[in-house]
Symmetry: C2
Subunit: 511 residues, 2 copies
């Protein structure tokens, strides 16, 4: 890291100009390099607290440790924000009031992680015993001890649940403030900190917390530190998220499994029925054929369109990495694709396969559909379009197991369970003055292009901030894109953690 | 049962004519009624030996008990017929040579049963502790003790693995001979008995046994006692079986699971690809659209066509029983359907469904196809038609996990594993003199229509008898059609067991 620091300084010097903002970034960087040992030691301890919903005690310990981290840094009003619903994991709050500051930024990250199945993790890895590796394990990384001299290398990785998603976010935010403070700098605005405790459960009580603590949580902008940087490795700022909703479909056939010899060709096969139904939803080029599916979409603004055009293409890189040689919609780039509503099969099942397969006609076939939404879509309306399409294929739709009466009356029966926790898309205009400052602040931390994404492909309940607080949001992610988010072997690249500290500090210095 | 006996006798008397054959049947029936207690006691003991492949010791005990049953009945040359492959479950053989007899019938049943999952059986049921019920459990049947006075009712049922499939067949055959012997009747032909021990495993060593014991197993006709009577409850004779073969399909997409938000609409979804591929195999009316799929079929002969027309329609009854109100091919009856080659999805799977579902794009999607064949089809040729169809949909076909090189080269990749144990259909002409005698013998046991089925829907490796012994076969099943064959709660209806004894005895009396 030290080498990198001097290179960075040098590259500014040969440009012949170092802005005030860039000078501050250099100060933060130097602080990070000098204090890497302590920062990582504390981070590793933070990672060792189990932060999964299945372990409420572990969640509480995580929150308690987090409050200690905040208090240690002199952050004020450190407290738990409890939802109205008893027992919901609280958010952790704190603030720093800067005399004379005209604006308030509130930094969001979440301290809970995705559920873990330790058996799926690489040999020797425990999700809550952070381990250091020389690089990504699937690229041949080997375990190395945490160095005692605090000398870290950017490509090293720490493996643990939450290492990237999103304890790294929490840690980058808190160390950014620490770096400012200990480098005798002053934040340019008031800072608030909001660390959620059930983001991975779909934020079911976030609305309650926002409503209950409305006045405490006032700000000029929420900065969401969650998710990965661009697949090119470049930093990115994301101005919106896709919405998300689901539909569970179950096609029913015979009440009991039938011998595929004795009844094959005569009895309806629910797997074939479901296959035909699903196949009817997209054309050969991956475009959704459901009536009106793309109708509500609000087009991108000129600056969003320009930003999109400047997003570096990672399509070829990703195709190679993923081992695919064609995309679903020929000629549509990844950036374009995630700016459209989508329909995906998350799972599909009927009867048994492999060694468990038997000569049967199954009794039912089921699929889970994931619908992603963009600005203009409404999640209930989008669900309804799919339901109308299913009806148009001749299906009788029920919300429970079909009765004998229904079975007698209808040839094609499907149970449709629309998800009840849909969220709409959200997008903050890139043209707002405060957003322009955010872009400048992030740009000040890097010689590289900063990728500006009108929308990320994934979903976060950002519309809640708009709904309950009338607040704007912008997402500034820091994790490496290959962090195994939500899966086994989650990891953070050391370079990304320290870059993240710089990015968050630069934002805190916005005046 | 006694009541039934007198009714039967009376109905013959008012017809004013009792043939010699029918008089013999009445003798057999009387024997069955008088000896029901002993017959069921022995049967229950036979059922208590575990006869599943997973329990070789249980299989050996079953075979040993079966040999004792045969020896007790004075059957000669009782012996195990071992395959050339060591360790394969042996067949059990025995014979009765009748002086002056001109023909030899060989009776086939199998003593092994389908694997069991006791957890799936009804509460209180153990697959190898036979229990008596007042009627079918799913029709409200209650457990009753085995009567000590040997007085049984036709609608009672015995629950145990193998109760119907196919220890009932073994038991009916042995008690038929016992009834003839103890009633001082003489079989009309030489009798041979062949009880297979691995039918439920797909008879992998039957070919070896038939080849090795070719001369011992010479006969004029194999009578296969396996499977259920007609769904109408009427007895049936089945002259052929459909062939069977399988294909395992796996469509590949991204090498690692992808977030359906970040990559949805861009990355190919293997579940959708598989759905489209499967959907392309049948039209909206359930007819297989694969090129040449129906081309090789040898049409039914005039007598087969006539028999087919006389098969009682059970379509309405079965639709009601199964809770379906439309069949796959509109206007095609069950009888017609099973005289055509079929394509069925036995199982289909991609990602996860229900509570395990997650916002992912799965890495692969898999399906198991079951192809049934009729006379004229060749199983390898039929597989090839499906493979050619898949190719025509633009797929690159491999037989293992795709390599990086293949992934780079081909947009649509599928692994196809064709089953290696396919069997062709078999059909014995109804016009042969010996077959005419069989039909007459079964007709002599009932006032009801005897259903003559050119082909059963299911598959048995009957072509092996033709191939290795140049032998004819005919199938005379005895079990109730709702016997839960191959599933939990297998059962035999008492009336069907005793009807079966009569049927088998009537066949043994053929001259």
């Amino acid at each position: 890291m030290r080498k990198y620091f001097f290179f960075f300084l040098f590259s500014f010097l040969i440009d012949g100009f170092v802005s005030a903002q860039s000078r501050e970034v250099l100060t933060i960087r130097e602080y990070g390099t000098k204090n890497a040992g302590n920062i990582i030691n504390e981070f590793a301890e933070f990672l060792s607290f189990p932060n999964v919903a299945a372990n409420p005690a572990g969640q509480q310990q995580t929150a308690a440790f987090l409050m200690t981290m905040m208090s240690k840094r002199g952050i004020q009003k450190v407290q738990l924000l409890n939802a109205s619903t008893a027992g919901a994991p609280p958010a952790v709050y704190g603030e720093v009031i800067v005399p004379g500051a005209k604006q308030t930024l509130i930094f969001y990250a979440h301290y809970d992680g995705q559920p873990v199945n330790p058996a799926q993790w690489a040999k020797g890895l425990d999700p809550f015993q952070p381990k250091l590796f020389s690089k990504a394990i699937d690229k041949g990384g080997l375990p190395i001890p945490f160095p005692t001299d605090g000398s870290y290398t950017n490509d090293w990785r720490i493996y643990a649940r939450g290492a990237a998603d999103d304890k790294a976010g929490v840690d980058a935010i808190l160390n950014a403030y620490d770096a400012i403070r200990k480098s005798k700098l002053t934040p340019g605005c008031n800072l608030k900190f909001f660390f959620e405790g059930e983001e991975e459960a779909g934020s079911p009580h976030l609305n309650e917390i926002l409503e209950k603590y409305r006045s405490l949580l006032q700000s000029d902008l929420w900065i969401i530190c969650d998710g990965p940087v661009h697949q090119s490795g470049k930093k990115q700022i994301v101005f919106g998220v896709r919405g998300d909703t689901h539909l569970d479909l179950t096609v029913y056939a015979s009440k009991r499994p039938l011998h595929s010899g004795h009844y094959g060709n005569w009895a309806p096969n629910p797997a074939m029925m479901l296959a035909k139904l699903l196949a009817s939803m997209k054309d050969e080029n991956g475009r959704v054929t459901i009536k009106g599916f793309y109708d509500d979409v609000i087009p991108l603004s000129p600056s969003e369109r320009k930003a999109l055009e400047e997003v570096p293409s990672v399509d070829t890189q990703m195709e190679k990495e993923l081992g695919i040689s064609a995309v679903e919609m020929q000629g549509v780039t990844l950036s374009e694709a995630i700016n459209q509503p989508s329909l995906n099969i998350n799972g599909m099942q009927s009867g048994n396969v492999g060694k468990m397969a038997s000569n049967q006609i199954p009794t039912f076939a089921t699929a889970v559909l994931d619908l992603r939404l963009v600005l203009g879509n409404d999640w209930k309306r989008q669900q309804q379009k799919v339901i109308d399409h299913i009806k148009a294929q001749g299906y009788y739709i029920t919300d429970s197991e079909p009765t004998d009466n229904e079975r007698e009356k209808y040839a094609k029966i499907i149970k449709v369970i629309p998800g009840q926790d849909g969220i709409n898309a959200q997008r903050t205009s890139m043209d707002l003055p405060i957003i322009q400052k955010v872009i400048a602040a992030v740009k000040a931390t890097s010689k590289e292009q900063i990728v500006l994404q009108p929308t990320m492909g994934g979903s976060l309940p950002l519309f809640l901030f708009e709904k309950y607080l009338n607040a704007k949001t912008v997402t500034v992610p820091i994790a490496n894109h290959d962090n195994n988010q939500h899966a086994e072997n989650e990891n953070i690249r050391i370079g990304n953690l320290f870059d993240g500290i710089e990015t968050m500090a630069s934002l805190m210095l916005i005046k």
